[in-house]
């Protein structure tokens, strides 16, 4: 874990400041431009599937293999292959300009039942608190993802940066 990630170590999720310091998290200007990956990995452990899976070489770890992944947003197309490849489920793809009023957040999902496209959900932030309403727009399940589904959720533009999970409407709060 990087030295400064005190919030992560104490609470279990990254603070705004810790996120901004990560080499895999692009700035707001980049996110506003279009579909792009956000790598919320603060873990100095030997791991590099994100680097290997990226067809555009947009993700670099290099040597030693314990370095944090860095993202070159000019190469990233937002294809999302890295979402399912990351064993830590720490990668999200944001599309700020999905529509005039909505953006999308794509994330790994390894629970059942899977949501269906069109399903209304309650979105959650990194700490698990409700953010607002969202709508599942796509569920990708292909063999290369090895039983990890990638779910794309449409949310109001203003919440794209904060939404990182969701619960189905029938599911109680925890």
């Amino acid at each position: 874990m990087i030295g400064g990630a005190a919030h992560l170590r104490r609470t279990g999720f990254l603070s705004e400041g810790e996120l901004a310091a990560l080499p895999g998290v692009p700035g707001l200007d980049v996110i506003r431009r279009g579909r792009v990956a956000v790598i919320e990995c603060a873990e100095a452990i030997p791991c590099n599937p994100c680097e290997t899976v990226c067809p555009k070489r947009a993700i670099t770890i290099g040597e030693p293999i314990t370095r944090l992944p860095s993202l070159d947003p000019s190469r990233c197309t937002g294809c999302g292959l890295c979402i399912a490849a990351c064993p830590g489920q720490a990668i999200f793809v944001l599309d700020y300009n999905w529509s005039d009023s909505e953006g999308t957040v794509e994330m790994a999902y390894e629970r059942l039942p899977l949501p269906s496209p069109g399903e209304a959900v309650v979105t959650l932030d990194r700490g698990g608190s409700p953010v607002g309403a969202g709508r599942v727009v796509k569920v990708r399940q292909v063999q290369a993802f090895d039983r990890t589904a990638v779910v794309r959720v449409a949310v109001p533009k203003g919440t794209v940066l904060g939404v990182r999970a969701f619960r189905m409407r029938g599911e109680g709060g925890r």
């Binding site: 992560l8 999720f13 990254l14 452990i45 030997p46 390894e110 059942l112 090895d146 925890r174």
Partner: protein, 367 residues
């Protein structure tokens, strides 16, 4: 009495890795394991493993287990399951027991890849049905498809506690909290973040004071700890739960090493008392190797490569590999292990291992 070249106790990643390497070089190899199924803890691990491409990164534990079993079978390894190794005679003869009775197995080289045991945590109510350790919860869920509880409190925010809590969520349970005495989370941040965003609180600087219930677990009481590590008044909270899952660390299983008179050393970084061993996993006894969690708590990929080193050294000892063939086969494994021990946590383990190797060189015999 059966006599073989190489006998491995434990059919987890370390034992299977060692056995495959040795058998592939022509040694007659037998692996014994007291469990009914091979694979050690691998088949309980349904998540994708960290690692590099050479380590099969992104592979789920259960799939790595299948791959290792296939490899061992192709190499000609004989695996004897439901077979406990409970004694050692003449330094080289294992005493085994299984349903067929008691028998002996003599081997020119031995590997103890016996894994680890989970630490226990005593608190009022810890003997109530419904207090289980993480391994038991995983066995019930992931091997037998039985949900061990519906509302769960987990004790311990190391990697095991975090991973098991996530698996409990996946199995359909509700995890009301993960409680950790230390002021910080010991496990990887990504595992913690997964739990947090799906709504599971992680309470650092908290301790379980009591678990209660008439015939089984019904409630767990938790209190916050202050800077002096003592309970903060009026912070007690009670959770209604039917399962308390304890994940407070692992310690190497070293009985056979002690029986063999291997030099032991205490290493907090490796989980407690471990047999001293060199870079090739050889203990202070020339004919005995140790690998995996029994040689210091670590991850499956480390155990696998430690096993491979032991298997290669055994093959060289018995003349099945020349010095140059051995060096060629060993090189990439040593490199992979070094890469796995990069990073802050890995460096501490590498340091502990180096000091153990020094003990073997000075070592000599017996504790």
């Amino acid at each position: 009495m059966l006599e073989v070249d190489f006998a491995c106790v434990g059919a987890g990643p370390a034992g299977l890795g060692a056995a495959s390497e040795a058998a592939r070089r022509g040694l007659r190899v037998v692996v014994v394991d007291e469990n009914a199924r091979p694979g050690g803890q691998l088949f309980k691990q349904i998540h994708k493993f960290f690692g590099s491409a050479e380590h099969g990164a992104g592979l789920r534990g259960l799939d790595l287990g299948r791959r290792l079993l296939d490899e061992a079978e192709v190499a000609g390894v004989e695996v004897q399951l439901s077979t406990a190794a409970w004694g050692l005679y003449d330094g080289q003869t294992l005493a085994l027991s299984s349903e067929g009775g008691v028998r002996r197995l003599k081997a020119k080289r031995l590997l103890f890849a016996t894994g680890a045991s989970e630490r226990a945590l005593p608190f009022p109510g810890w003997t109530l049905p419904g207090v289980v350790r993480a391994g038991a919860a995983q066995t019930m869920m992931n091997l037998h498809y039985v949900l061990p509880g519906r509302r769960v409190l987990t004790i311990g925010a190391g990697n095991v506690g975090l991973i098991v809590s996530y698996q409990l969520l996946q199995a359909g349970a509700q995890v009301v909290a993960v409680v950790e005495m230390a002021p910080t989370i010991g496990g990887y941040g990504v595992h913690a973040a997964k739990l947090r965003r799906w709504g599971v609180p992680i309470l650092t600087s908290h301790r379980v004071t009591e678990v209660s219930g008439r015939e089984r677990v019904e409630q767990a009481a938790v209190v916050e700890l202050g800077d002096d590590r003592g309970p903060v008044p009026r912070t007690e909270r009670v959770f209604d739960v039917d399962l308390v899952c304890v994940a407070v660390g692992l310690t190497p299983l070293t009985e056979l090493c002690r029986l063999a008179g291997c030099v032991m050393a205490h290493s907090p970084a490796l989980g407690g008392w471990v047999p001293a061993h060199d870079e090739d996993m050889r203990t202070s006894r020339e004919d005995i190797f140790v690998a995996g969690d029994a040689a210091g708590i670590g991850e499956a990929s480390v155990a696998l490569d430690e096993g491979r080193l032991a298997g290669l050294a055994a093959a060289r000892d018995l003349g099945h590999l020349s010095d140059s063939e051995w060096a060629e086969a060993r090189g990439p494994v040593v490199e992979r292990l070094a890469a796995l021990r990069g990073g802050e946590q890995g460096a501490r383990i590498a340091e502990a291992k180096a000091s153990l190797a020094a003990r073997v060189r000075v070592g000599g015999c017996g504790p």
